[in-house]
């Protein structure tokens, strides 16, 4: 069987790529994609821990299901906000959307 830490390291790599996307991209939708990548990494971790440490109880899978639910709700609301902002300001570049700053 594949050792547990392989899964964890892959998930960590996925998480960090997502983190980089969130920190560096200009476009709000690209930032949201980064967040989705991070949530996926978390899910891989949860399922890997379930499989290797407590395969008798379904806790890990149930948690992953709730994470997916929240990811979907977050994407739905987030993208709705972007569309609404785009309609008002004509851009979703987060660097230009700083009217709230002053």
């Amino acid at each position: 069987m594949i050792p547990l830490y392989w899964w964890l390291i892959v998930a960590a790599a996925l998480f960090c790529i997502g983190l980089y996307a969130v920190l560096s991209r200009k476009n709000a939708i690209a930032i949201l994609m980064g967040v989705e990548l991070m949530l996926n990494a978390v899910n891989v971790n949860l399922v890997a821990f379930w499989r290797y440490i407590t395969p008798q109880a379904l806790t890990g899978q149930v948690f992953a299901m709730f994470v997916i639910t929240i990811a979907a709700a977050e994407a739905a609301v987030g993208l709705a906000i972007f569309i609404s902002v785009y309609r008002k300001h004509g851009t979703i570049d987060v660097e230009k959307l700083d009217i709230m700053r002053w």
């Binding site: 299901m65 997916i68 979907a72 739905a76 709705a80 569309i83 309609r87």
Partner: protein, 119 residues
Amino acid sequence: MVLSEFTFVGILVIVASLLPIAGLGFASLVRPKKPNPVKQSTYECGIEAIGDAWVQFRAQYYIYALVFVIFDIEAVFLLPWAVAYNQLPLYALLEAVLFILILVLALAYVWRKGALRWS
């Protein structure tokens, strides 16, 4: 673990992806290839296309996708319930009905607000 029930699905993905490759590969041997600018221009009913393909589309399409996502997740929660229904006591009925009713309420709200209207 030794042979997951998904093994066949994996095999099918690989074999099925050979179909387009084989089809397009064979076709590229027999078909003619004489491109010219008129042929390769965008076809919009014969009129010359103005601008690129991007025009402002209605956000209404997005609303349908939104409602769809929410109901999709509901289904994911209800399917395990449906499979386990025979083993569950009576209160499972009430819990699930509550779950469904909240979503019916959401649908009713969106409907009343006119978000599902294609004006």
